[in-house]
């Protein structure tokens, strides 16, 4: 293939991925504003209306559910709630993992062995099962979900941060910072961190789809945020009971998840190539 064609394929990732994300953002942010229907209260005379039907004086572009609530409004709110949980959780796992990884790589020795064994342990447990177990013990509210999802995902960040810190700590400027007598904490935060920040942010992008699917799986199984508050997962979980009658209740929330994950993956791939990173 010609280089020009390759370059246009390369940019296609960004355009298609960014486009998908923009569509979801527009639906969830502008949608409720342009289409002010109540996501929590429905009209009981207008249940199970198919997409594009008019009921109770309003057009329902994606139909209504078993309580006559507008599916479009529920998906818009559910997307916002799911994405907020994912965003906070990813901050916890990336910050915690990056810090522990830098500490392991910088100090080495017993500290490193201890932290890396913790990583192995974390990676050996089936995430979904552990998350379900802990949420069922401490209760399925949004804050607990953020904490559990956040603490379940730090291991991969630690692994990558450690590997890069091992390379950086041998460089001259770290040696000179040490010779100047700077405290370890300052060297790690001021001199190591800025040099691994970009790869860690790219890693965060690559990790987001995993979190989105994990959050929606937990919601689907009924252990996430509880109805009537919608999330992408519990919408599908609730719709499952009525899928013979109203398959749109299952179809559209899942499409939003697929749009989000494909969009983020495409943008992430583009970021990786752009920064010439190697991701194992």
């Amino acid at each position: 293939m010609s280089p020009r064609l390759a370059a246009s394929f390369d940019r296609a990732d960004l355009v298609v991925g960014g486009g998908l994300l923009l569509i979801v953002a527009a639906l969830s942010l502008l949608g409720p504003w342009l289409w002010p229907l109540d996501p929590l209260h429905g009209v009981l005379t207008a249940t199970f209306r198919p997409p594009f039907s008019v009921a109770a004086g309003a057009l329902h572009p994606l139909g209504t559910d078993q309580l006559g609530r507008d599916l479009f409004a529920r998906i818009a709110l559910g997307t916002l709630i799911s994405l907020s949980i994912v965003a906070f959780a990813s901050v916890i796992s990336s910050v915690l993992g990056t810090l522990l990884g830098m500490i392991a790589g910088y100090f080495g020795g017993l500290t490193e062995i201890a932290i890396m064994r913790l990583v192995d342990i974390q990676l050996a447990i089936p995430f979904v099962l552990l998350i379900l177990l802990i949420v069922s013990i401490i209760g399925p509210n949004p804050i607990n979900l953020v904490l559990v999802l956040g603490f379940s995902g730090w291991a991969i960040f630690a692994r990558v941060a450690r590997a890069r810190t091992l390379e950086i700590r041998e460089l001259e400027y770290i040696e000179s910072a040490r010779a100047l007598g700077l405290p370890h904490g300052k060297i790690i935060l001021r001199h190591v961190l800025p040099n691994i920040l970009v790869p860690q942010i790219v890693l965060l992008t690559l990790d987001l789809p995993r979190l989105i699917i994990l959050e929606s799986s937990v919601g689907f199984l009924g252990l996430g945020v509880q109805p009537p508050t919608p999330t992408l997962g519990n919408l599908i979980g609730e719709g499952r009971a009525y899928m013979l009658l109203a398959d749109w209740l299952v179809l559209y929330p899942g499409l939003v998840i697929a749009f989000l994950v494909v969009g983020i993956n495409l943008v992430g791939d583009w970021l990786v190539r752009r920064n010439a990173l190697r991701v194992e």
């Binding site: 009924g222 998840i257 993956n265």
Partner: protein
């Protein structure tokens, strides 16, 4: 001698990981402070809870309890299911074959197809076929297994009435769950085979083989693919943990009576000894699988000397 010490250090690492998992699984029960109240039905009286607490040994010092739990686990005693009043270990063993069947079926078709697609994509790098395959791989990873499962049920069971919606027993009932569970891996395997094959095809020994006039087929089979296999094997081991996570949801959707469904039902019924048993067992499978992968890795790559 070197081989022995390599195996011994790997085995020790695996053991430490298992101890760590057992600690997490055990202490998770104490997150609210009172495991007895957690396990009893909400309508239980204070006296009943107190009696249950005493019977389960929750009044003993916590590290004594953990020691007892660990010692029991080493003997295959993982506690008694509160719901079935039977050893949790027996329940796990009973449900194991169903999950193993589902996982094997899913891994088998996705590995075969993933390999084929990966080879096609790598040999036609950056062509239209490569682009199309990449798109399929991307979609496979983007679609949550529970959604794909429900779509398959809607289309093939409810609309077309070709296949059953769930259950176990006939080959027809295996088809939809195996497709749903395998879809994720097919993307992963395709991507890895493509990447490592492109890497291998760029190596000097492939150029030498070409210069010798070997056929494309022979170069692929004897030289490139053999070396491309190493990362694929490694990753297959890593996927074992997430395979059980995927199986969990697939089993719930298709009413497949395996380990995953046992775990979910036990969580919903607050039958925590069974949940602990499933998590520990899954970790054991993961650790053993990775141990075997390490050995296979060394066997496949002559540069790693045991």
């Amino acid at each position: 001698m070197k081989a022995l010490s390599y195996i011994a250090s790997r085995a020790l690492q695996a053991f430490i990981v298992l101890i760590g998992v057992s600690a997490i699984v055990f202490f998770a029960l104490f997150l609210t402070g009172d495991p007895a109240a957690l396990m009893m039905p909400p309508e239980a009286s204070k006296q009943e809870i107190a009696a249950f607490r005493e019977a389960m040994g929750f009044n003993d010092p916590i590290f004594l309890q953990y020691g007892r739990f660990l010692l029991g686990a080493l003997h295959g005693d993982l506690g008694i299911s509160l719901r079935f009043q039977r050893p949790a270990y027996d329940l796990v063993l009973e449900r194991l074959p169903a999950t193993a069947l589902l996982a094997t079926a899913a891994l088998a078709w996705s590995s075969l197809l993933g390999f084929a697609l990966g080879i096609i994509a790598a040999t036609r790098k950056n062509g239209p076929a490569d682009f199309a395959i990449r798109l399929v791989a991307l979609l496979g990873q983007a679609v949550p297994v529970f959604w794909l499962g429900l779509l398959l049920i809607i289309v093939f069971a409810l609309k077309l009435r070709l296949l059953p919606t769930g259950g176990i027993g006939t080959a027809r009932q295996l088809i939809l769950p195996a497709i749903a569970l395998g879809a994720y891996y097919i993307s992963a395997i395709t991507r890895i085979v493509r990447a490592s094959l492109i890497d291998a095809l760029a190596q000097d020994y492939v150029r030498t083989a070409r210069a010798k006039g070997l056929s494309q087929w022979r170069i692929m089979m004897r030289h490139a693919l053999r070396n491309a296999l190493i990362p694929v094997v490694t990753v297959q081991g890593m996927y074992f943990a997430s395979l059980l996570g995927g199986a969990l949801i697939t089993e719930v959707i298709f009413a497949w009576p395996g380990l995953g469904r046992l775990a979910i039902e036990s969580i919903q019924n607050k039958d925590f000894p069974v949940v602990q048993a499933v998590v520990l067992f899954a970790a054991l499978v993961f650790v053993v699988a990775n141990f075997l992968v390490d050995l296979a890795y060394a066997a496949l790559n002559p540069r790693i000397r045991l």
